[in-house]
Symmetry: C2
Subunit: 293 residues, 2 copies
């Protein structure tokens, strides 16, 4: 019996009352009524089978045992407070690691990174684009930015940022650009359709949205990553299909054109935050991203 701890909440009430030499002030500090503190102290005294306070009419006074317990409890609590504060500070100071696919990183994020670091400096954002598959549950990332379709997993808090819109893009330097520019979507069936292994559904999805027969698609050159695919399109090697967000800068600069516009897909650009990491910084980042899109 002597090996177990005293009731800790009672000890906290006692510590406050002992430090302030007043039940009422302790109650105020703990945001409860004095009755609650009184009862907690009583419970502690009964647990320890010790008298900690001498009640003298108005006010209370510590007994000898009370003084010793207060010293120990104040010290222990102060220490815990300190460690918790340190840990939380360390968590805030640590850079915020955002996982992100390479293509999104290069074609969308990097051009905006400077502004983000200026507008949210306390975030200390650090981008991480792993080699293999992106793992939003990895302990090495605080959040992950990606294109994905609902429903969302239960262990993730997902901030939806934008709908994904995909569409064919090609460079003005592409051989038949002039012909294609004003042509109907169906004309694309005859072109070299660049694609990636990571998004095999992109062209068929687009074809369906345009009312075309997806069976008649003839896929041309394939690329491992969307990033290479877009580089190839910019270089005029063919017609690529890509999310609008990733080519927005290229369209604005005239490096690419999207004559047939974009169509919505079921996917969203979303920020995934593991529910376990109840991190305020993720919310600030999501808000900034939403403003940026």
């Amino acid at each position: 019996m002597s090996r177990d701890l005293p009731p800790l909440n009672a000890l906290r009430a006692f510590e406050a009352a002992a430090r302030l030499e007043s039940v009422s002030q302790a109650a105020e500090e703990l945001h409860v009524t004095h009755g609650a503190v009184s009862r907690q102290i009583r419970a502690l005294e009964e647990h320890l089978e010790l008298v900690l306070f001498v009640r003298e009419g108005r006010g209370v006074k510590l007994t000898e045992a009370g003084v010793r317990l207060r010293d120990a409890a104040s010290d222990a609590f102060e220490r815990l407070r300190g460690v918790c504060a340190e840990l939380r500070q360390a968590a805030v100071d640590r850079p915020f690691v955002l996982g992100c696919p390479g293509s999104l990183l290069v074609r969308w994020f990097i051009p905006r990174l400077d502004r983000l670091n200026r507008e949210l400096p306390e975030l200390r954002l650090q981008l991480s684009t792993s080699q293999g598959e992106l793992d939003p549950r990895s302990p090495n990332v605080d959040a992950t930015l990606l294109f994905a379709e609902p429903p969302w997993p239960a262990d993730m808090q997902v901030h939806e940022l934008a709908r994904e819109c995909i569409g064919p893009v090609l460079s003005p330097r592409y051989a038949r650009f002039a012909d294609l520019q004003a042509a109907a979507p169906a004309r694309l069936l005859d072109e070299a359709l660049l694609h990636t292994a990571s998004r095999p559904q992109a062209w068929p999805e687009w074809a369906r949205a345009q009312g075309l027969d997806e069976q008649s698609l003839r896929l041309g050159q394939g690329f491992e990553h969307l990033y290479y695919l877009l580089e190839a399109a910019v270089a005029g090697l063919g017609v690529a299909i890509a999310p609008q967000q990733l080519v927005a800068d290229d369209l604005a600069a005239g490096r690419l054109a999207a004559p047939w516009g974009f169509v919505e897909t079921p996917a969203r650009l979303a920020l995934w935050v593991p529910t376990r990491r109840n991190d305020r910084r993720a919310e600030r980042l999501a808000e900034w991203l939403r403003g940026e899109l």
Copy 2:
């Protein structure tokens, strides 16, 4: 917000789980289910906005922050445990102070003290008979043994030990002892009735119980304390009235006689323990006293 303590019960659950590296074992140590521990740890993680454990299939592993918190918490708790144990040990080692009227002390307790100290040595009994009025609420006594009538005060835990029985006693050396020995109680009205200021009701009470007219009592010599009264009776100075318990030894030794027996009064010989002092030792003492009576 960083100034307040983490939820302490959650911290206790975490500390156990971290020390044992197992939620289930922690649950066993704390005598709760693993679900409860899991919830507490979760609550702590949410409060601190920190990940303390990495769940890996079977078993859990501490994060870096978790290790630091465990070290701090284990240390703090161990310290508190130690101080509480010390305080309780000190309370046990301290002598048990029993308040007691002088007459009871001298005529009943002292002859039995040696045996009590042999049978309850860990009690380290210390008897205190104050000069003035006995105060069961004094912080200087752990319990008080006295004759008193119910009802009992609410702030006292009262162990009733025996009914008070009073009766006239006199020494065989008393002048008219031979005449009185077999006489009716009414004969006492003519004798020198020794009495004390502290128990003015004793003779009238006894007279009523005997069916005598209490108005016709003629009180003789008065004494300040019952103790002196009894000494006077033993010395053959007159007829005293006293509780049976206080004269039992004198009756057995033939120093006093009680030809008219004893009558019950509303009072009890009782051990009063302040409710605040939830002291096991008082209960042990009460039990011993009950056996002795």
